[in-house]
Amino acid sequence: MTPKEAINVYCEAFAAGDLAVISGLFTDDAVCELPLLDDRLVGRERILREVETAVGSLRDIKVTLGPIMAGEDDAFAEGIFESEMIAVAPMVDMTPRRLDFRFVIIVEMADGLISRLAEYLDTKPIKPLERSRVFTVARRSPYWQGVEDAGVSEFMVYNHMYFPMVFSRTPLEEYTALVERVTLWDVGCERQTEIRGPDALAFGDYLAARDLTKMSTGACRYSFVCDPDGQIICDPVILRPWDDALWLSHGSTDLTLWARGIALHSDFDVEVCEPDVAPLQVQGPKAINVLHGITEADLDDLKVYRCVVTRVAGVDAVVSRTGWSGGAGYEIYPLTSERAMELWNALIEAGRPHGMLVTGPNINRAVERGVTDTSYATNSDMNPLEAGGEHLIDLDGDDFIGRDALLRVREAGPSRHTVGLLMDGVLPRLEWNWPVTAAGGRTGVVRWAAHSFALGRSVASALVDVNIEIGETVQVDHPLGVVEATVTTLPFVDS
């Protein structure tokens, strides 16, 4: 193949998503230099893997080449790349999210195959920095510089802190890294409500809807904290790292103020505070490999929903085998943020051999795995029985805040339940809870929605009238119109 033919065939095959053709173009040790990727790709297999992710992230790809200037062993061309991104929701005005740019492509050949492919383009316009909505009124995490360097492009405000959610990559790149390799998340906004003192366990048990009295040191529990009406305030992971202390690692709500106020007017012998603990999550099947060499504790022995006080990269920390990926992973809670970037940089280095990506929590994976959080349940007029969490509360044990109200709900039966929806079409961004309607005036709301890469379609979690049954067809009213959806069970995808 001539260099000119190689450029033409590569661009045509990329636009068509024809991996078989692309596979036949490269030498075994070919090199690919693409500014849109973090690394220089070496070897045909690695190149193919990245091309597969890239073409799976985009639809309607069009590559237009100018004149190709070819020599005996190389060729140069200028071109225009146009595409629409998959799983990046269009704006509410239906404007699709696109990936369009101009570029120069250069190939060098060896024995009729591409030995080097380089693209030159400016990624600045397609990887915008999100700085326009950053104010001092919300706090930054101590890993701020790290996520900036990693290309953060969108934050959520969560627990009065900036939460890096979107980075300058396609959703499929991040999803693939999470389910096949490993990802690092700055969840410094995931605050701890610390309860410390002789009555820590008893007070935690009174706050949380789940029986904590048998919780051993080193245990973790997922539970709900409810208000006196039985409504969910948040759904924290509760850790007992030390004998005399609990951490309620909570979603976006002022749980420390709530707990402190209750403690002030009770007889429990506890101190309640928000410690300077800014967690990180290392999630994905290779998370253990990343932490192995830099964690003093033997994490092979750490079971799911257990935690250990140890050192990571020389930094005192609690490590728990928990997380928000619906799969393998760990959370690291450094005991102060003084050496936060030291810890971050050590993790970046430890993750490099394993292809670790810095990302935000992966909404696509969370929704398809039925994992919920703030956007689903917190502060949103829902009780644990409606959220599908009856097994996470202990109504027949000790008293807790909200127990009487929940006993009444159990006796009457919940009026709503949580279901999955298999939805038609492309979803816009979920900016409010979309109304759900079904025959007979039955209603509900969509509270989570995303593209499922595993199923190749749009899915959602919804809180609906308890009489809306699995297998029924309902209507969802979202900004792009009214679409049909089939009611199903959660999760959509097993681990």
Partner: protein, 136 residues
């Protein structure tokens, strides 16, 4: 001037910080596209002269090294590396680039530099706000 000669002349003048020589390489309504400039798209000799003057105010030294140039008719594409010192960062940066030149009757009709300007920013963040309480 052929497009490959125009690229060579541009690079030599860029290394010499010679704004005037670069500006007069272009046709009266020539287009100069350079990601590091703000704006990055300059049209006409006057805009190009003003844009380069601003650029050289923040770049202490810039050196281009062109590895190869290919030409087809009035168009040429070059591959190379730019190294530059930016006093504000106190460091040298190395930026691989490609460059496309199109010659017209009265000078360069277009010179487009393709490089990734994303990694290079001219500012850095201040300290992060202190959090609520001391270590537990």
């Amino acid at each position: 001037m052929s497009p490959d000669d125009a690229i060579r002349a541009y690079c030599a003048a860029f290394d010499d910080r010679d704004v005037e020589t670069i500006a007069i390489l272009f046709a009266a309504n020539g287009l100069y596209e350079m990601p590091f400039l703000k704006p990055g798209r300059l049209v006409g000799v006057a805009e190009i002269r003003a844009g380069l003057t601003r650029a050289f105010e923040v770049v202490a030294r810039g050196t281009t090294s062109v590895q190869q140039i290919k030409t087809l008719g009035a168009q040429a594409i070059a591959e190379g590396v730019l190294t530059a010192d930016i006093p504000r960062d106190g460091a040298s940066i190395t930026v691989p680039f490609a460059m496309v030149a199109e010659s017209g009757d009265d000078g360069l009709a277009r010179l487009t530099v393709y490089c990734d300007a994303k990694p290079y920013r001219l500012w850095s963040d201040g300290p992060v706000m202190a959090l609520a309480r001391g270590a537990s």
